[in-house]
């Protein structure tokens, strides 16, 4: 009996972590069920059943994936990564979806290659960085991980799916961070991105640029790197305006509305305002499970998917929100602990990058529902409706579990 119990525990690596993931997913199904309870019945009413089937598939996938030794996985990684890049290219050619090309369909089965690509990129980065004896200090020597992350970044951006694209950036930074790359090197890498964001105002960008130059002078990196960083920042600042103009109007709108939802209360700001009204009217304890009027009357956009957390807020109130956030906090903290406790470089970096991806999704998705983040369409891990996403999340859980197991 005892041996058998321990066996399961060993196989699960960290049973509490897995239990937390499963609890969140089951809670997600409950919320998707609630999201389907509308006065006028919509297809969303049946979404929870499909999600339940996907969860079953995900658990099976978990069972298999958690038995694969990390060494085998590391060996297979380039193939997985290559496949995911091919699929990302394919989706641009034959993909479908509302507004963006993000879905591949075959045999009545829809699939989002970007979700696979996130996992594949994490694996590829973990393989690339984990194989080193030494953490790389030199920025320009980091070209390999940069290329690994940039390829899917650009392909996803072309769909266009800004939210997912940003995730690739975060994954790269997390992987480098965990691989021990000095913070200043990461700073140099990130600085052109900051320039891009600040490029809309010449003054603010100017202040930033001077700050970067002063820092470069004080830290004295290699001349070539300093020049590259300087030129990168200049180019990004200059490119900000043309890039902005190349965004689709709905994307521009989303970003503008994030800054001021009042500018378009009937259009792009509508979603945010309705979400805030739903959450705000939830109060301390919420309207009760299934009872939220905003949700019941379909005022929430994508209420089983992107805006599912608004349903949580409306129906379960501040207390419910806090419990869910702390649940995520515990799960993510556990993930970091597993990453820190692993002696296996590949698994450790992989785990930490997954932490980074989930963390990003959590902050952007939940922040979006209250107006802290722009509306980007990033789903909430474990909770939001979406088969591919749930499956990839649970494969992630399996890999983390495996990492904990091989500790």
């Amino acid at each position: 009996m005892n041996v058998r119990k321990e066996g399961i525990a060993v196989r699960l690596g960290d049973p509490l972590f897995v239990a937390a993931a499963l609890t969140l997913a089951l809670f997600g199904i409950a919320m998707i069920y609630s999201a389907g309870l509308t006065e006028i019945r919509t297809p969303v009413a049946n979404a929870w059943k499909r999600q339940a089937v996907w969860l079953a598939l995900s658990v099976i996938a978990f069972a298999f994936a958690s038995r694969v030794p990390l060494r085998w996985l590391e060996w297979a990684t380039p193939w997985i990564y290559g496949l995911s890049i091919l699929l990302l290219i394919a989706v641009l050619v034959v993909g479908s979806g509302p507004g963006t090309r993000s879905w591949l369909k075959f045999a009545g089965f829809s699939f989002q290659p970007a979700e696979l690509a996130k996992l594949a990129t994490i694996l590829m980065l973990a393989r690339s960085l984990g194989g080193r004896e030494e953490p790389e200090v030199r920025l320009l020597r980091l070209w390999r991980p940069m290329v690994i992350a940039f390829a899917p970044f650009l392909l996803v951006l072309a769909q266009p799916d800004l939210g997912s694209a940003v995730t690739f950036g975060v994954i790269l930074i997390c992987a480098l961070f965990w691989a021990g790359v000095p913070l200043f090197t990461i700073f140099m890498l990130v600085s052109p991105g900051v320039s891009l964001l600040l490029g809309w105002s010449a003054t603010i960008w100017g202040v930033w640029f001077v700050f970067v130059i002063i820092l470069l002078y004080l830290r004295r990196p290699w001349m070539l790197e300093a020049v590259a960083v300087g030129v990168g920042n200049l180019a990004a600042g200059a490119l900000a305006a043309p890039l902005w103009n190349s965004l689709a109007p709905y994307q521009q709108n989303r970003l503008l509305v994030f800054l001021n939802p009042g500018i378009d209360p009937r259009g792009a700001g509508w979603h945010l305002i309705q979400s805030q009204v739903a959450i705000g009217s939830g109060g301390w304890l919420g309207r009760g499970f299934g009872e939220g009027p905003q949700k019941r009357l379909s005022f929430l956009p994508e209420q089983h998917n992107d805006f599912i957390f608004s349903v949580v807020g409306e129906e379960l109130g501040f207390v419910g929100v806090l419990v869910v956030l702390l649940g995520f906090g515990w799960l993510l903290q556990r993930t970091v602990k597993i990453a820190a406790g692993s002696s296996q470089n590949f698994g450790s970096i992989l785990t930490f990058a997954l932490f980074g991806a989930w963390f990003t999704h959590l902050v952007i998705n939940v922040g979006m529902t209250v107006g802290l983040m722009p509306v980007t369409g990033l789903p909430l891990p474990f909770i939001s409706y979406g088969g591919t996403f749930l499956l990839m999340t649970f494969i992630g859980v399996a890999l983390i579990s495996r990492t904990a197991q091989e500790h």
Partner: protein, 618 residues
């Protein structure tokens, strides 16, 4: 991100031990966990602000989001005639409105509704425009739906999410077109009417009286709309009543009883010649109650219920016969010979001639004035007549000379003191007041000081030239002549207040003088040779004056104004048929008038209202 930490972590040039890596990772893990909990804390603060601090405000917004106040139309008051017969009532009807929402989906919905509601593209454009201009209010599309259409739309509910079908009281006018002009009609309030101070409490989509009695007594008939609160979803579909706020029921409008006689309207409608245009008015000369106010061609007010189609509307508006013109009230005609008693009254009051006085020249068919002859209608001439005979035979030559004897100044001031330059003040919208020159200055202004001569006096004496009067105005004067009482103000509503209202002018004749004019008018009808002799009544002494009014539009108009019975007048009637045949013009208006009088006086003898009494009548 500060650089100082980075220095300690990496040791370029030296191989790191596992413990170095562990130390680096545990430091960085703390950093990551810090970021994690800081973010969660920040999110929690944001949720706290919305959910705990802002709860009240957002709960209110959430309620407003899904709450729609829907106006409950009040039933309009019913309208009855003098004997309690129904002129206007309400029957249960169905209305269809579009709830507030996006203009695009409103348009799509209208297009899907088109086959059922017979909307053409023009009407859709118009409705769509109105929808866009008033966001946030429901748009009334049709308020007289057939039950079959209601069923068809309800069956296809998912296609018509924005559509609100509601039962409401719908207007019906059982008598139809015979009362069209006097009763008016109802329709949705217009943009410009919404600006009128009387209607400041009215909302778009409200049904309002547009003309006639429906308009005049709108504020009483209209009632107060109630409010129903419903819950709608994000697309504007109604999902049910909103429990927390109870509905406020509508207050029905007040009923209204008119002095009108429905039977007279039905009679007028049946006897008025189909190919002609004109009108008939009848008053009770003692009270001023309007018994009959009929204009032909007329329209069926029921056609406006539920929104008249633009084709029907333009057909009515563009019809050359002008069926929307109320010829009893809003049209002016030269009064012709019906004017002669007016001139006689002025002459007697001024003391220039009595009823038995002759004029210097007998009638030989014309009177020479200056270098032109002023003709009498009878080419062969009437010979010598006194005033009574001249009224009976309607001799123009006599009245030319009478007018000259009165003189232009006294004629102008005398007629003006009888109120012929203005409105009667009837309780109906759209009355056009009579026109008569107020003074000589009027001529100077109009034609220039040398542009006219005293010969205008001759035309004014026979009701031609610069005088134009309405049927109602002529009836009012004859009522004053009939009773000798202070002249009444014609009114439709039965009310003592209105009955006791009197105008500020007087006929100012002694009873004998008035009797003499009435006697002369009796000869018109009741003596062989009188112009209306053919249409006298056997049982009652009807008196009156015929008229043949020359006009620039074609054949002369045929007039008759009179009253009956002569010794106790209970009905005054004025009738006109436009552009009659030249040979027997008088025979067009007189029979209409005499049949109205006959019917009224006959019916008057039958006891009113109580069904028991009616049943026992042999």
């Amino acid at each position: 991100m500060t650089g100082s930490k980075g220095n300690g972590e990496a040791r370029p040039g030296g191989v790191r031990s596992q413990s170095d890596v562990d130390r680096m990772r545990s430091r960085r893990a703390r950093l990551a966990l810090g970021a994690l909990y800081a973010s969660i804390g920040l999110l929690a603060i944001a949720f706290f602000r919305l959910q705990v601090v802002g709860q009240e405000e957002y709960t209110l917004q959430s309620t407003q989001n899904r709450l729609r106040a829907i106006s409950v139309p009040p039933p309009r008051g019913s309208i009855y005639d003098r004997r309690g017969r129904l002129l206007a009532e309400n029957v249960p009807g169905y209305s269809l409105a579009l709830l507030p929402g996006s203009p695009d989906s409103a348009r799509a919905t209208l297009e899907r509704l088109a086959p059922w509601l017979e909307l053409n593209s023009e009407r859709i454009d118009e409705l769509h425009e109105r929808f866009r201009q008033r966001p946030g209010t429901a748009l009334l599309v049709d308020d007289d739906l057939e039950p079959a259409v209601v069923a068809a739309i309800e069956e296809r509910r998912p296609q018509f999410r924005m559509v609100l079908i509601d039962t409401h009281p719908s207007r019906r006018y059982p008598p139809g077109s015979s009362i069209g002009h006097v009763i008016g009609y109802v329709s949705e309030i217009s943009e410009s009417e919404l600006e009128i101070p009387d209607f400041e409490t009215y909302e778009a989509g409200r049904i309002i009286g547009k003309k006639g009695i429906e308009r005049q007594y709108e504020l009483e008939l209209g009632g107060e709309p109630g409010v129903r609160f419903v819950e709608v979803d994000a697309r504007g579909s109604i999902v049910g009543e909103f429990g927390p706020r109870p509905s406020i029921p509508a207050t029905p409008g007040a009923d209204l009883t008119l002095g009108l006689d429905l039977e007279l309207h039905e009679l007028a409608d049946s006897i008025f010649p189909d190919t002609m245009k004109g009108g008939i008015v009848a008053l009770d000369p003692r009270s001023g109650e309007v018994l009959l106010l009929y204009s032909f061609p007329t329209f069926d007010p029921n056609r406006f219920v539920g929104g008249i189609s633009s084709e029907n509307w333009s057909a009515l508006r563009d019809d050359p016969a002008e069926p929307l013109l109320n010829r009893a009230l809003s049209a002016l005609y030269p009064p012709g010979s019906t004017w002669k008693p007016v001139v006689s009254s002025v002459a007697m009051r001024e003391g220039v001639a009595g009823i038995e006085d002759f004029m210097p020249n007998g009638c030989n068919g014309a009177l020479q004035y200056g270098n032109r002859p002023f003709r009498c209608w009878k080419r062969s001439g009437h010979g010598a007549l006194d005033m009574s005979g001249a009224i009976k035979e309607s001799c123009n030559v006599y009245f030319y000379q009478l007018g000259q004897r009165i003189g232009l100044d006294r004629l102008l001031s005398g007629v003006n003191s009888l109120g012929f330059n203005g409105r009667t003040g009837i309780d109906l919208p759209g009355e056009v007041g009579g026109r008569f020159p107020p003074s000589r200055d009027w001529y100077d202004e109009r034609f220039g000081p040398r542009g006219w001569t005293e010969s205008v006096t001759l035309n004014l004496s026979i009701g031609q030239g610069e005088t134009e009067q309405s049927l109602l105005r002529m009836a009012q004067f004859y009522a004053a002549l009939a009773t000798g009482l202070p002249p009444v103000i014609p009114h439709l509503r039965r009310s003592e207040v209105l009955e006791n209202r009197r105008v500020d002018w007087r006929v100012d004749l002694s009873d004998p003088q008035r009797g003499q004019i009435v006697q002369a008018m009796s000869r018109v009808v009741n003596e062989p040779g009188g112009t209306a002799y053919r249409f006298r009544l056997a049982e009652w002494e009807m008196v009156g004056k015929t008229g043949t009014a020359q006009n620039p539009h074609g054949e002369p108009h045929s007039w008759f104004v009179g009253f009956a019975p002569a010794n106790d007048p209970r009905i005054v009637v004025a009738a006109i048929v436009e552009n009659g045949h030249p040979d027997n013009t008088t025979s067009l208006a007189v029979p209409l008038a005499s049949r109205v009088v006959q019917r009224f006086l006959t019916d008057e003898e039958v006891p009113t209202s109580s069904p028991a009494v009616t049943a026992s009548t042999p």
